[in-house]
């Protein structure tokens, strides 16, 4: 069970538990379903974005466009519902389709013309941000009874509320985990992230897999945008700035190697929750300001990357079998 493969994820879980345990010990009201439910909701859209990002990173790529994608999808939702008077269900469907299409286009450019994903998605990042401003430059309230129904929907488990946003996140997380582990597409993603030359010689369709990876990331980012719109009931163009970096950090904190091929999609959830717990610790403390969150996350990220290197070196030494 504990091996070179699982150790980064296990240590990510350990870090999360330690932080949570510390909070429960130090502060009243930290431990319990109420905060757990809140954490799930509050970090849902980071986690959803990070699940898509996990696929991209596992395939050896990067997607910088997701933060802008969230802003663009929010703006699009507002436009469709408020200006065009579409039912939110239709707006959601159209937004997800548009987001997935943009992801597909970026993936196609990356795969067919063999351009670095960093540059292509950086271009996407600027474009989607700009497109968001084109649709509306100010904050818009998305007023529709259906949107309110969605955001109010939830089941109580004890004191904790599992609301619509958290449910969608958990479902999409489960889908992501299953796709990565139990489908050929998922295995192909690991293969091209592990060694794309070998993968090609083994017969993996590199182009098709790459396109689908970015399409999937576009899909997850657009769902994150919709969750944001539902949760806040509004859209403004500055939404989601630097969320791509938060998502990448969540993936890395969840034990996935930035070089691709190694890690678990489930780690995105752990990483995202770690973010949330740190934030709550700082909130509960009260004496620290918001900047401390960033500092702690920065330190944790560094520690994690160093730890992965150490594990790798250790694993090479210990587990190399002279069969």
């Amino acid at each position: 069970m504990i091996s070179e493969r699982t150790l980064p994820l296990l240590s990510a879980i350990a870090v999360l538990l330690i932080l949570y345990g510390y909070g429960s010990f130090a502060y009243n009201g930290f431990f319990g379903l109420r905060l757990a439910g809140y954490l799930l909701t509050d970090n849902a859209f980071i986690i959803v974005t990070a699940v898509g990002m996990a696929f991209v990173i596992l395939s050896g790529g990067i997607d910088l466009s997701v933060g802008s994608m969230i802003a663009f999808i929010c703006a699009l939702m507002a436009f469709l519902v408020v200006k065009l008077n579409l039912h939110p269900l239709w707006a959601i469907l159209i937004s997800v389709l548009v987001g997935t299409c943009f992801g597909t286009i970026m993936g196609t450019i990356i795969a067919v013309f063999k351009i670095q994903p960093f540059i292509v998605t950086l271009a996407g990042m600027f474009m989607f941000r700009g497109l968001g401003y084109v649709i509306n430059t100010q904050q818009v309230k998305i007023d529709h009874p259906f949107m309110t129904t969605l955001s109010d929907f939830g089941v109580y488990i004890g004191q904790g509320e599992l609301n619509f946003v958290a449910m969608v996140m958990l479902v999409l997380l489960a889908v992501g985990v299953i796709v990565s582990k139990y489908t050929r597409f998922g295995h192909n993603v690991y293969a091209i992230g592990g060694d794309s030359n070998s993968a090609a010689l083994l017969g993996v369709n590199i182009t098709g897999t790459t396109i689908r990876v970015y399409a999937l990331s576009g899909f997850y980012a657009s769902v994150a945008g919709i969750l944001f719109a539902v949760a806040t009931g509004s859209a403004y163009p500055e939404v989601g700035i630097a969320v791509e970096l938060d998502a990448i950090s969540a993936v890395v904190l969840g034990g996935t190697l930035l070089t691709g091929g190694v890690g678990y999609v489930f780690g995105a959830f752990i990483g995202g929750m770690t973010f949330g717990v740190i934030q709550q610790l700082i909130n509960f403390d009260g004496s620290l300001n918001a900047a401390s969150t960033r500092i702690v996350i920065g330190v944790l990220l560094l520690a994690f990357i160093l730890m992965q290197k150490v594990i790798l070196i250790w694993a090479r030494k210990v587990t190399a079998k002279p069969v």
Binding site: Y182, H187, A191, L202, G203
Partner: protein, 506 residues
């Protein structure tokens, strides 16, 4: 004669029949009208020196390259693979020298990739592992398939790669240099497996440069040279010296030395190495080069020629032995030290190690001299131009002007520019690895002329080459390498193609 024998036995239709296969790259014929066939259940060695066309052949066969002309019949039907995956589904699987599996995935995931057993549309890990175990059993491996691939040695990974290749109803297995990174025991294990597969009716194309292994395992041998088909032989009927001749010799008539390259008495030794070697790379070698002498390094591909050059120049570090140059003991650990000591090296692969294609002829030429002076002391432009001008003239390099990017020159002229680069540093010892590979006949001649001229002027040269007829012409002494060892040294009138071949075949 051999062909007659072959056709007489060849009653059953062959499994694979290659007819007039050709493939060119930018005007160079990498495969030129090649025809031969592979029988069912035979181990067929495919041999040839570097650039003979072996890997091009494999890539054309498996659809990695498209063919220019020719036909391939597999089980009597036209065979056209679009890529290696397609070739595999048609029954032709390839295992390359570098294991082409995914190091970060488990053995099971590697073995079942693209072909995972599924239940209700999702991969069943249990069934996948079961299938992986069956595949491993076929190659006699008893390992835990849930472990990550890179936890296993290269030899085991190689067997896993073969297991994967066999897994999908392979009828023809191509093994490209499978033994290059294996030790003797691992090779034996691989050979047992090959014999077993042969008994099951699987045909194997075995590409290697280890001739003794060819004799140990193969039934027939096909030799390619310069992209052309030489012949197919029954292994048992072919003496090793004949085989070597088929691989390297352009003509079989005895070419004796006709130049005045008599052995110079080794009275003035410039360069000597004593027990120079490195584990798993080169067995300790003794060698001397006198002032104004050309010493040839002969041997087949993989014999240790290039390794020796790399060790002398500090590209690789030795772990035993001593070197003296011009009376001083040297400890060379890097090319920079070698250059400072007065050596220069034109490596084998010009395109990879030698030229900087985008830079001009002038820039390429002054590179080594500038590096030797240090980058803080630029050579004045006027001085550069004068030096380059002189070299272009002296080596008759054909270029419209010195500012042309070197990549646009012909191979022969590129080689001359590289030679000029090192001559500008005024080395005492010049190392050349395959100086005439891939260049046209005229340039060939020029380069040999230049080498002779240099040694007249008192420079010492150490030249590694697989072109025996050339070595015979210019070398004063020839050291013969085999299996990463120096096996013999020939001097003066002893040097002939025949004697070199005999020494290699021993």
């Amino acid at each position: 004669m051999n062909m007659n024998v072959a056709t007489a036995v060849d009653e059953a239709p062959p499994l694979l029949s290659i007819q007039n296969l050709s493939k060119g790259f930018a005007g160079v014929r990498a495969l030129d009208d090649v025809s031969f066939s592979i029988r069912k259940g035979e181990i067929h060695a495919l041999l040839g020196e570097n650039g003979a066309g072996k890997s091009t052949f494999i890539k054309v066969l498996t659809g990695v390259y498209s063919r220019d002309a020719g036909q391939i019949l597999f089980e009597g039907e036209a065979f056209h693979a679009n890529n290696s995956g397609h070739a595999q589904s048609l029954g032709v699987s390839t295992v390359y020298q570098e294991v082409n599996l995914i190091p970060t995935m488990t053995v099971t995931e590697n073995l079942t990739l693209l072909n995972q057993p599924r239940r209700f549309g999702l991969i069943s890990p249990r069934k996948a592992e079961q299938r992986a175990r069956e595949m491993l059993e076929r190659v006699g491996l008893n390992i835990d398939p849930s472990e990550q691939l890179d936890h296993f040695s290269i030899a085991v990974q190689q067997l896993i790669a073969i297991a994967r290749a066999l897994g999908t109803k392979a009828k023809l297995l191509i093994l490209d240099e499978p033994t290059a990174s294996l030790d003797a025991d691992e090779v034996s294990r691989l050979f047992e497996l090959m014999t077993e597969l042969k008994a099951q009716g699987i045909s194997i194309i075995f590409v290697t440069h280890f001739l003794d292994q060819v004799y140990r395992i193969s039934d027939r041998i096909t030799v390619l040279r310069n992209g052309q088909y030489v012949d197919t032989y029954n292994t048992a009927e072919l003496p090793q010296s004949e085989l070597i001749r088929a691989m390297v010799g352009k003509s079989l008539d005895e070419l004796s030395k006709d130049t005045g390259a008599e052995s110079r008495a080794v009275q003035d030794t410039l360069f000597a190495i004593d027990q120079y070697g490195k584990q798993r790379c080169l067995e300790p070698v003794d060698l001397t080069v006198a002032r104004g002498e050309i010493v040839g390094l002969a041997g087949m591909l993989g014999s240790g020629r290039t390794e020796l050059c790399n060790l002398i120049f500090g590209v690789d570090s030795v772990d035993s032995g001593e070197m003296t140059l011009a009376g001083q003991s040297q400890s060379i650990r890097s090319p920079k030290q070698a250059i400072d000591a007065g050596m220069a090296y034109c490596p084998e692969d010009r395109k990879v190690d030698g030229i900087v294609a985008e830079l001009s002829v002038r820039e390429n030429m002054i590179l080594a001299l500038q590096a030797k002076r240090g980058w803080l002391r630029p050579i004045p432009m006027a001085e550069q131009k004068a030096m380059v001008e002189e070299m272009i003239d002296r080596l008759s390099i054909k270029t419209p002007n010195m500012n042309k990017p070197i990549g646009e020159l012909s191979g022969g002229n590129q080689q001359k520019v590289i030679l000029a680069r090192w001559l500008l540093t005024h080395p005492q010892l010049l190392l050349l690895d395959e100086p005439t590979r891939g260049i046209d006949v005229g340039a060939h001649h020029d380069i040999i002329e230049i080498m002779n001229e240099l040694c007249e002027q008192g420079m010492s040269l150490l030249v590694a080459s697989s072109e025996l007829e050339e070595l015979v012409v210019f070398a004063h002494r020839v050291a013969i390498m085999k299996d990463r060892r120096k096996v013999k040294e020939l001097t003066g009138s002893e040097i002939s193609q025949q004697s070199i071949v005999a020494a290699i075949a021993q």
